[in-house]
Amino acid sequence: MSTRPRPNYPLSGLAVVLFGVVFLVPFGFIVLTAGKTAQESALLDFSWPTEWAFVANLQAVVEARDYLLIIAFINSTILTVASVTVVVILAAMAGFVLQRRRSRFTRAANLIILSGLVLPPAVVPTIWVLQRIGLFKTMPGLILVEIAYAMAFCVLLFQAFIAGIPKEMDEAATIDGAGPLSLFFRVVFPLLRPIIVTVVVVQTVFIWNDFTSPLYFLPGDENATVQLTLFNFQGQYASSYNLLFMDILLVTVPPLIMFMIFQRQIVSGMVAGSVKG
């Protein structure tokens, strides 16, 4: 990688075209179909719309079923922001202590955390727990479940990052009279900025795209998240592919924006997370 030979132009051209066709045609299809009229979209072909109905489709999708999509966007935003905020703070605190203290207890805790990364969640018993504490079919209940599911991944990422912060920092702060809380929130937490950005971005995309948890733990139209509206659109607009694809397009826009701004953090975070796991 240090001395790079002359680029291979024919291979480059071929590869760019191949990547474009394989990975971009489906997205092109989404955008084009979202701009077609209902009859034209029913042809299912990959073609330029003869008549653009983009704005009309957008309006139709947004207004459908009393602005359900707007409600779903609000719900998904609340869910994502609340879960990510809480999980970042709690996972950073836990990761800090688990990394700094090496004992039989923390080793056991790490093993359990690893299990959280690997094992599939037991869904119906989770519903039972939520019902027992009166949080089934409520947004706070779903938020707590998302936090629990994201916890393992985040704690491991924080631990790995905190291992690179010299312990002398903590000692200096402690000698200056900082208690554990101010040591963590005033000294350590600001140093975690890079990993916090990574965790926030990766988890935002994960939770925004999560379909299974809302399906089980927050059923019902008034609570719909964007992924569920997408799924329900399929049944309601069986023949209106233009509206279905407009919905897909809208739901894809937030991750696309995240990706364009934070590409490096997302890629490095997901690589680090998978290598840890």
Binding site: A91, M93, R100, V118, P120, V123, Q234
Partner: protein, 304 residues
């Protein structure tokens, strides 16, 4: 290690007021809030699942019926075939992700232009809503009018009926899974390959090793940690996959693409909570049975 914290707290005892000195700067209660949420909403349900799977259960009352749920699960072909499909799905997706991810990573770390563009384009599907991807490919894979079969027609190939063909449905979903996930495998491999010192390749080149030999004897063995990550990640992900399958086929046609996760959901929807939870426990054990030996195997080999 714990003694270190003890030493720190004792050292400056003369200059600072005494009450704050007593506690460690790393109190265990920092773990508590996160630990409680994780325990209540992940660990407790996981442990309780073993009990509920032995009951006829309506969420409000339960009746102990022993192993009946498991017996029913393995007797009914519609349910137990989900186990086989899950394995086929997980092995197919992770095998393809290893091979294609490696190939794309070698391509993208080689002497080539447009590397950044291709990496972005291949990675972006990882971040897109799986339901959106599933619904889009459902249309693209339409047996006669779908873009994929239209394109295959142009080059004289008659494509299969994909999702509506019982022999192809599960594989079709697996292909889409690979399309969506190969970008992550690629960037993991790229990180692995770029961490190999360039001198190795130079030296091998001096000695007259061809491209294939350099790949076979340098890249492949030294990128092993990346291979381990990709295999584990995609196997574990593949075994519990639900959203993509549900969006594309709902387990159909018939039960030909039903996997464990969709069986669990269907039994839950039908009100058979005990049976659904038994399926969950089976999936649980399946993941442990596959992941644990792999963890052990890879770690042991690394030590030597």
């Amino acid at each position: 290690m714990t003694t270190v914290t003890g030493a720190v707290t004792e050292a400056p005892a003369t200059t600072v007021p005494e009450p704050a000195r007593r506690t460690s700067p790393y109190p265990y209660w920092f773990i508590l809030p996160g630990g409680v949420i994780f325990t209540v909403f992940f660990l407790v349900p996981s442990v309780m699942a073993f009990w509920f799977s032995l009951t006829r259960w309506t969420l409000f009352d339960q009746e102990f019926i022993g192993l009946d749920n498991y017996v029913q699960f393995f007797r009914e072909p519609a349910l137990s075939s989900g186990l086989r499909h899950t394995l086929v799905y997980a092995v197919t997706t992770s095998g393809l992700k290893v091979v294609l991810g490696m190939a794309l990573a070698v391509l993208l770390t080689g002497p080539i232009l447009g590397r950044g563009f291709m990496r972005s384009v291949a990675f972006f599907p990882v971040l897109v809503s799986t339901i959106g991807v599933g619904l889009t490919f459902q249309i693209l894979m339409h047996p006669t009018r779908g873009v994929i079969n239209q394109a295959l027609d142009l080059i004289g190939i008659t494509g299969p009926a994909w999702l509506v063909d019982p022999d192809w449905a599960l594989l079709s979903v697996a292909f889409v899974d690979v399309w969506q996930g190969v970008g992550l495998a690629t960037v993991i491999y790229m990180a692995g390959i770029l961490s190999i010192p360039g001198e190795y390749f130079e030296a091998a080149k001096m000695d007259g090793a061809g491209a294939w030999h350099r790949f076979r004897n340098i890249t492949l063995p030294l990128a092993k940690p990346a291979t381990v990550s990709v295999i584990l990640l995609s196997l574990i992900g593949g075994l519990r996959k639900f959203d993509l399958i549900w969006a594309m086929t709902k387990g159909g046609p018939g039960f030909t693409s039903d996997v464990m996760a969709s069986v669990i959901y269907k039994q839950y929807q039908a009100g058979f909570y005990g049976l659904s939870t038994a399926g969950n426990v089976v999936l649980f054990l399946l993941v442990i049975l596959i992941a644990l030996p792999l963890f052990w195997f890879f770690n042991r080999r690394d030590d030597q």
